[in-house]
Amino acid sequence: MTKRRVEPLVWLMFSGGGVAAAVLLPVLVFLFAFAVPLGWVTVDYDHLRAVTGNPLTVLVLLGVFVVLLVHSAHRFRYTVYDGLQVKRKTLVAVLCYGAAAVGSFVALRVLLSV
């Protein structure tokens, strides 16, 4: 029986977040950080609200945001270890994944409020 460790599962979420960040985030950034605010593309508000409020969209976006946050937390945690040579490793880990957990909860609230 394989030892039970949480690192492999965190790493799996990190990987999923990396894929999401590479495959889905670019178009979302292109549209909502640049194209729509700067007027290159027009989006109908009612249609956008309908799409965002759609239960399937909520489900997908929730999953995507959670893995993106875990990806960021995991990567940033190791950057702090390697970059700053911090000794309080457990504290850094708790802060990083804790922030991801808080962010995930906020994402859930936001997505359900549309």
Partner: protein
């Protein structure tokens, strides 16, 4: 005969500035901050969408303000670094066999970009139709 303690060389905090490959690695890792920023940005947008048309308009004003555009340009540059490095590293991390033959790395690399294009096209269609 006595034994002497070996000399341990300390590692500088700036070790990552010594070599280009180390520097690019740290930049790649820092892209994680900007991924988190975009999650926050998108959540702010979705909140605004949920509160009504005028909230959404306020958000668009916020997003098109020069300071935010500059931040987003910098963040987008780091996101591009993430995309390029992530796709480039995947073939090294995965061995995929189809019918007993190993899929060449170039094929894995290309298929990821195809995936990016397909997903992007779908989202643009979904949002603008």
């Amino acid at each position: 005969m006595s034994t002497y303690a070996p000399y341990r060389r300390p590692l500088s905090t700036w070790w990552w500035l010594r070599k280009r490959s180390y520097f690019l690695f740290v930049m790649r890792e820092l892209s994680s901050i900007f991924v988190a920023w975009f999650v926050v940005f998108l959540l702010v947008m979705i909140t605004a969408v949920g509160r009504g048309r005028s909230s959404y308009e306020t958000f668009l004003d916020f997003a098109s303000s020069p300071a935010v555009v500059v931040i987003n340009v910098v963040a987008a540059a780091f996101l591009v670094l993430h995309v390029v490095t992530w796709f480039a590293l995947t073939p090294q991390a995965m061995v995929i066999q189809v019918g007993g033959r190993r899929v060449p790395g170039a094929a894995i690399l290309a298929s990821q970009y195809v995936g990016l294009a397909v997903v992007s096209a779908f989202v643009v269609w979904l949002v603008t139709r």
